[in-house]
Amino acid sequence: MGRAGLAGIVAFAVGLTTVLSLLLGNNPALFGDQPGSEELARRLALPGDVLLRLLVIVIALSIVIGIVNLLYIHIGRLTRGKFYSAVLLASFAFTIFWLTVNRGDTSLLEAVQVPIESALAALLFLSLALGGARVMQKRADIWGLLFVAVVLSVLLGSLPLAELAPVRAFSAWLLAVPVSAGARAILLGIALGTIVVGVRAVLGLDRSYRG
């Protein structure tokens, strides 16, 4: 068995099995009312089931790869005297220590994680609002104008002010009709792309695992 071909062949075999198992498994109705259809459907679903379980654990384990990378990079930076990398490593080590000592304790989460994350999400508001004010700087055309107009009407429509009732009705219509259409278009497009690239990968035609 050759080297590069192996990955391609494994991809092809595993991919086809998984797709068929996921698409056809667990539905006896597909095979009519024959006596064995129940069993057949169950068997068809099994490879997909096993592979899924496998992959779920692999993905859970892959966090270790991420952590190794994070530590490798920041220990490297630390040796070059970067202060913040020390902060990161210390915070990482302390959290691990804390969670090992106080198992199931969530006060660290509540004291540190939640406030920082919430505050960052709140900062996002400033980024979004000020970014929204600069749209015409980047897109000084009809699309920028349309974008800003929609942003303003949806924002105004969300206000609980009696004077704005017509705007509210308009923005409700906007959300129900054109926005729904546009969102569907984008989602359908992404779904199509996902399917096509997915099929290509399943067929063993993607280069990513050959290099």
Binding site: G2, L55, T106, Q113, L126, R134, L187
Partner: protein
């Protein structure tokens, strides 16, 4: 490729198209060889044609391969990679040695051709451990020449640190930062104003019931209200601390609603931090919900299941192998739960932070649900997309969106429990006048409950379900109640100037508000010093006041515990905007007691705005209102400011773009 040959591009596969029969991928079957194309007389790779032993792939694919894989990464990699020296074949080894040798010019030659040979010398190939093509570097002599040239031209020296990296970033403080700073300041200021003063009371509060056009949220509420003890509800916390500020409120309400009916929430999440955060929420609910002096216990009153890694993959596992997912808790211990499939839980409730989560649940979980409805709640950001899915999939019911809907939900929950309160008191031990007619209704109610459809949406108009809180399997009979609390017309004046009579609680201890003007009447609610209520009427001798409560009901309070006052409506409303009652501490607790009457354990509910401690066994905090109103006002004011900022900013930028365009036009 028509590009000039260069060192870094030398291995473009297009340069050296392999024989059509050889797929580029096959090259990797061969022993690693450098494929320097510039070397003459490169031996043909003899093993190439002898590959047919490969599994036969479709002919189409074999033929398409060479062109399609053109700059295939595999190819690039096979060439660009560093290989140990000893892998080179002999001919190349010797070539390399010659190159290394020739880069050390001999002394005689240098004397013979002064300087010229140095300039012409081949680049030195640096000896690097393990690699041959690591870098093509200049020889020492060449470097000196370069430095000389640089000196002449006046270019900076190589070692000059100040210019080694050209900084293109603008200075951090420039005039252009000023609008930004002003914008930030204004936005923050406006969003904080409502917390400082209640003068900035812009806008209406959210309604106390979902708008009748919105069937989704109402249905969702009714479904959760239909739970019976020991029902399992899968609650997906698909949000981390990022969205805690927005979604904690609704998550807490859902949990309270479920727990108050003794149904068991099973919490799952595909976000690891959300699992930890869910514990926080539970402990927050715990601080307020106590059963018989005990708090909620993991493994009995609620479960947190293990984290589902891999996003949609984890969800797929959840929907296909729910039996396994439910076996293990987040701590890695056995839960003892046994399910066959996801259809065994009564409802699936999903709280999504991002549109992505909604999509994942719609794609991976919803199609697998046969009977169980998926009840969804989301933040504003996810709402437009979530709405698309909620509209187009039958399995998904309702969409409770954001903080304003959470407020409405809390109002409904409170009103509902207030109704339970009234009913319980009508049927409770004190009310011996429980008429036979009401008891007669019991079978009908039970029958109605038995045929209650679980999976189908309950129409919003359906009767509010019986209080399913009793630990006993029997349901408490309750008269059908068509009256909603909002219908209780209060004599509150609409004109704010009108003077109204109120009572203020002066007793330092908690005061009971009762159903009727005697101490034998049932307790409806507890009040504490500083609370103010609007007077509806007094009893004959004026020893009891009939007062309006904040939840739309009315009750009686003893005159000796309160002080009567006359206030204008504006003054009365000044605090928090309650129409009929002004509570000193805006928390509403619902206390539940079990009392034996007519041989049955019956729940009795009291409401209080102060935490109940000590001997009283059970109570439920329905909501924490302390920050609700200022937050809602801050959102309104903040949105208004944002609208102005965005409009102003874009007008300025549009005008400047127009001017620029005009100027360009003139120039042309």
């Amino acid at each position: 490729m028509s590009e000039e040959f260069n060192w870094l591009d030398y291995a473009e596969p297009d340069e050296e198209a392999p024989a059509p029969s050889a797929r580029p991928g096959l090259r990797r079957f061969l022993p690693r060889r450098p494929t320097l194309p510039s070397l003459p007389g490169r031996p043909r790779l003899p093993s190439l044609p002898s590959i047919p032993s490969l599994p036969r792939l479709p002919r189409l694919r074999r033929r398409a391969q060479p062109a399609l894989d053109k700059p295939s990464a595999a190819d690039l990699l096979s060439v660009h990679e560093e290989r140990p020296l000893d892998e080179l074949d002999d001919r190349l080894q010797s070539l390399r040695e010659r190159a290394v040798a020739s880069s050390q010019p001999e002394a005689e030659a240098r004397q013979a051709l002064y300087d010229v040979d140095e300039l012409l010398a081949a680049p030195e190939i640096l000896r690097k451990p393990g690699g041959v093509i690591s870098a093509a570097a200049l020889s020492k002599a060449q470097r000196q020449q370069v430095e000389l040239l640089k000196d002449i031209v006046g270019a900076p020296q190589a070692g000059d640190a100040s210019v080694s990296r050209i900084r293109l970033s603008p200075p951090l403080f420039s005039l252009s930062a000023i609008p930004r700073i002003i914008g930030t300041a204004v936005l923050l200021l406006m969003a904080s104003l409502p917390f400082v003063s209640s003068d900035f009371a812009e806008g209406e509060l959210p309604p106390s019931e979902f708008h009748e056009d919105r069937h989704g949220p109402t249905t969702l509420y009714n479904l959760l209200d239909n739970l019976t003890p020991a029902d399992y509800v899968l609650v997906a916390f698909e949000y981390g601390p990022t969205a805690a500020g927005e979604l904690d409120a609704i998550a807490e309400l859902f949990l309270r609603h479920i727990v108050a009916q003794r149904a068991v929430p099973l919490i799952v999440s595909s976000n690891p931090i959300a699992i930890a955060h869910a514990q926080n929420i539970i402990s927050r609910v715990n601080r307020s919900v106590a059963f018989s002096g005990e708090s909620l216990r993991h493994g009995r009153d609620y479960f947190i299941l293990r984290y589902l890694p891999g996003g949609p993959l984890g969800l797929r596992e959840l929907s296909e192998n729910f039996a396994d997912v439910a076996r293990v808790s987040y701590k890695g211990t056995l839960t003892g739960l046994q399910f066959d499939s996801l259809d065994d839980v009564t409802y699936v409730v999903m709280i999504a932070e991002r549109a992505e989560d909604m999509r994942n649940w719609a794609e991976q979980v919803a199609p697998q649900l046969d009977r169980t409805p998926l009840l969804a709640a989301s933040g504003y950001a996810a709402a437009p997309l979530a709405q698309v899915y909620a509209d187009s999939m039958d399995e998904i019911v309702g969409l409770v969106v954001g903080y304003r809907d959470a407020y409405t939900y809390a109002e409904m929950l409170e009103a509902n429990f207030a109704e339970l309160l009234r009913d319980a008191s009508e049927l409770g031990s004190g009310s011996a006048e429980a008429s036979p007619a009401k008891i007669d209704e019991q079978p009908r109610n039970e029958a109605a409950q038995a045929e209650r459809p679980l999976a189908t949406a309950v129409p919003p108009a359906s009767a509010i379900p019986p209080p399913a809180v009793a630990p006993l399997p029997t349901t408490t009979p309750r008269p059908p109640n068509t009256e909603t609390p909002t219908e209780t017309a209060l004599p509150t004046a609409t004109a704010t100037q009108q003077m109204i009579s109120v009572v203020e609680v002066t007793s330092p201890r908690q005061v009971r508000i009762r159903r009727g003007p005697t101490t034998a009447d049932d307790i409806l609610q507890l009040a504490q010093a500083g609370d103010m209520f609007q007077i509806i009427a007094t009893n004959g001798d004026g020893s009891w006041y009939n007062i309006a409560l904040s939840n739309g009901l009315d009750g009686w309070i003893a005159g000796i515990l309160v002080e009567e006052k006359a206030l204008s409506m504006a003054e009365f409303l000044g605090g928090g905007g309650e129409a009929s009652a002004r509570l000193s501490d805006e928390r509403v607790y619902l206390r539940r007691e079990w009392s034996l009457s007519l041989g049955k354990n019956r729940p009795r509910y009291y409401q209080s705005n102060a935490p109940i401690t000590g001997d009283i066994p059970e109570y439920v905090l329905m909501r924490d209102r302390s920050a609700e109103v200022p937050r809602l006002r801050a959102m309104t004011l903040g949105t208004l400011t944002t609208v102005v900022t965005i409009a102003l900013g874009n007008v300025i930028f549009a005008l400047s773009a127009l001017r620029r365009r005009q100027r360009n036009g003139e120039r042309k």
